[in-house]
Every structure is written in C-alpha cells, then in structure tokens.
Symmetry: D2
Subunit: 116 residues, 4 copies
C-alpha cells in the first residue's frame, strides 16, 4: 500500500469492544469505532470538545492484535488507508460507507508495548 497516495492516521479511543469475525479461511476481521477528540476555545473562551467517530476495519494479524489488546476505551493509534464501498441495507436502499482499513495499530499508554 502506498502511504503517499492514500494514508490515514488517527489517535483516539476505542468506542466499544471490537466486533471480531472469523472467516472460513481462518482469517479474522476486526471492526470498531474510534473517537478522535479535538479541543478548542470558542469566541467566549469556553473549552469546546469536538469528537469525530471513525469506522476502522482490520484483517489478519492486525485484527488479532485488536482482539487481544484494543478493548473499549483503550487509547490507540491507527494507520491505514481510506476505502469506500456500497451495500444494500435491509430496506433495499443503497448505502455508502467509508472506512479506514488499518494495517498498523499502536497501543498507547501501555508499559509493555505489545503493539504490532
């Protein structure tokens, strides 16, 4: 994957325990939400928090690390690429989703850096 052409990096907190799917091939897929929080002061000088939620997907070895270490609330770094895809929802409506396909995970604030 080219980090020059398509690269995303996020540092934030895992929204809930990742959903793990075991494929027939034996490969794992992990899927979860990550919150990135930015803080700024508005014109009144009040501290405002802006939270952005991202959907993260990971495959194989990266999914295994997520399953083991990246539980709800954990602070992690994610690097990967932006991917979009479409599907039909249960009402037959075409939906588009954009996800970050993670190929790297970094556990933060951890003494034993059991990251990828």
């Amino acid at each position: 994957m080219s980090t020059l052409k398509n690269h995303v990096q996020l540092i934030g907190n895992v929204g809930q325990d990742p959903q793990i799917t075991n494929l027939e091939s034996g490969k794992k897929v992990a899927r979860f939400s990550l919150a990135t929080n930015e803080f700024y002061k508005n014109e009144k000088g009040e501290k405002i928090q802006n939270t952005e939620w991202h959907t993260i997907v990971a495959w194989g070895k990266t999914a295994e690390i997520i399953e083991k270490y990246a539980g709800k609330g954990k602070e992690i770094g994610v690097a990967g690429k932006l991917k979009s895809r479409s599907y039909e929802d249960k009402d037959g409506v075409k939906r588009y989703v954009t996800e970050v396909e993670a190929n790297e995970i970094l556990l933060l604030g951890v003494k034993n850096g059991d990251s990828q």
Copy 2:
C-alpha cells in the same frame, strides 16, 4: 487541527471540475472527487488497477486555490482531516457521509507551482 490525532493525505487525480459554492459570508466552499490509483499484480501476473474515490471539501483560501488550479484530471496532493456527518436525503432517509476536509493542496507535475 492536530495532524497526530486525525490526518489524511492523498495524492491522485481530480475526477471532475470542482463544484464551488459562494457562501453569503463571501467565503467559498469547494467540493470534488479525487481518485487514488494503486496498481498491483494478481496471482496470474496481470497488472490490476484499484481506484478509490474520495470526497474532498475545502473552505476559504484553500477553496479558492482549488477553483483556480485544480480542474478535472489534474494531479494533486491533499492533506486534511476525516470528518463524517449525516443528513436526510430527498426521501427522508438518513444518510451518512465521510469526507476529507482539506486544509492543504499541492499541485503536482506543474511547471508553475502555484500551490498553497
């Protein structure tokens, strides 16, 4: 904006001339699609192209640069952050979109580097 917490970088080609909106405030908004192309060889040794399409939004000065220089087909670099938002479509269905809010544009392969 924190590039450590939420950062996207893309290099690709502009899909069509950007749509420019002039806000009442006098500020401009630019919106366009960017294609990032990756190439790989499949197991048969055939060259495969994988194109990903991204929605880019830019405000103010960055939008002005896009309007002037980033026409259809142009090769550009984009840096910014990932943002998601929801809206109701014309049938009242709630839709979610994820966009890259560009705060930096780089014109590539250009003799006169009139980039940001």
Copy 3:
C-alpha cells in the same frame, strides 16, 4: 508549513528533561531527544529492539507545553518538519545537524489530555 512537502511524525519516549532556553524576546525554545523503539524478530526468532534517537526542537507555545508536560521518560507524539543546519564546533570543525522542528506535541497515556 506544508505537511505534503515536508512532514515528520514520531511517537516515542523523551530521553531527558528538555533543555529550555528563554530568548530575549520572551519566546521559549525547547530542545530534547526522543527515542523511537521498534521491535522485530531476527532469523533465530529472538526479539530485537532497535532504538532510534531524534533531536527535537520547538518554539513558542509548543516549547511551553513541552516544558510543562514532556519530562524525561514521558511517551509523546511529535509532528513537524525536517530541518538541517550547520555550525562550527569548539575546534572550528564545521558540523551539520538535522533536527525535527516540532509544531505539534501530543501527550500519550495521560488521563487529562493537556496536549497542544
């Protein structure tokens, strides 16, 4: 500063308490070493640690945050640009140094995210 043209990002541990210089202008400069640690297994399956040391320089507001929060041993993220410069050492030998000029600092593994 263009993150597309010249961008560095590091996550690691502060080597020693940053050296703070107060300029006559009242501006601060912070200078410190940051260690980035990578782990891999060699051909014998032994876990090897590879530590890279980086010189970080920061000015103004970023230097103040470093002075307050980025003491020895702290895990932080740094984003900025690569800069090189030359000087003459005490023996009159011309020396070249390459530094990361940080314009962003993120404190990691901290409950109260008092980062920039």
Copy 4:
C-alpha cells in the same frame, strides 16, 4: 516499519543523479539529495523561498526504481523513516548524519506513472 512511530514524507526535487552502489549481495543502494521548497511572503510582501536539503537512502527494489526514474531535477515523493548514524571522517573526526531511509517513491508529474 511502523509509520506511527517513525514516519517521514517529503515531496520535492532530486538535486543530482542518484549515486548507485551495487552491493556484493547483488542488492543496490541509492543515495541522493532531495530539495523541498517552501514559499512565504515576508513582512515587506516579498516572496521568499526556503529550500531544505535532505539526504535520502534506499535499498533493493526502491533503489532500482530510483536508478531508473529519479534523475536530477525530477519531482518525486518519498516516504520512509528517520535514521541517524555516526562514522569517522578522513581526519578521524566523529561525524553524525541523519538520513531518510525511503521505502516508497512516487514519481510525480509523469505521464507514465512507473512508480513503486
């Protein structure tokens, strides 16, 4: 290599034809200077150019691409990691150098995108 822990990205122009070394193993090493140019206006409104020179090193397949396509003056993107090392110069003085070890090269402004 972890792009979260140690990542550099540059877009600029090749200073001179890369120096290629053929190792006994058959592997190639490429070494060259890359200029990144930033422009700003000073307080008098004059356009100022600030050029930063970087030393780039690449191994193996990346070195081969550089040898073929990244000649003097070419506009390229480089992604990789920051590495420092020391050596003794011809006068026995210990010297330190910081280099960008490229693991990705992108040829820009090229009709035939024969990049990595």
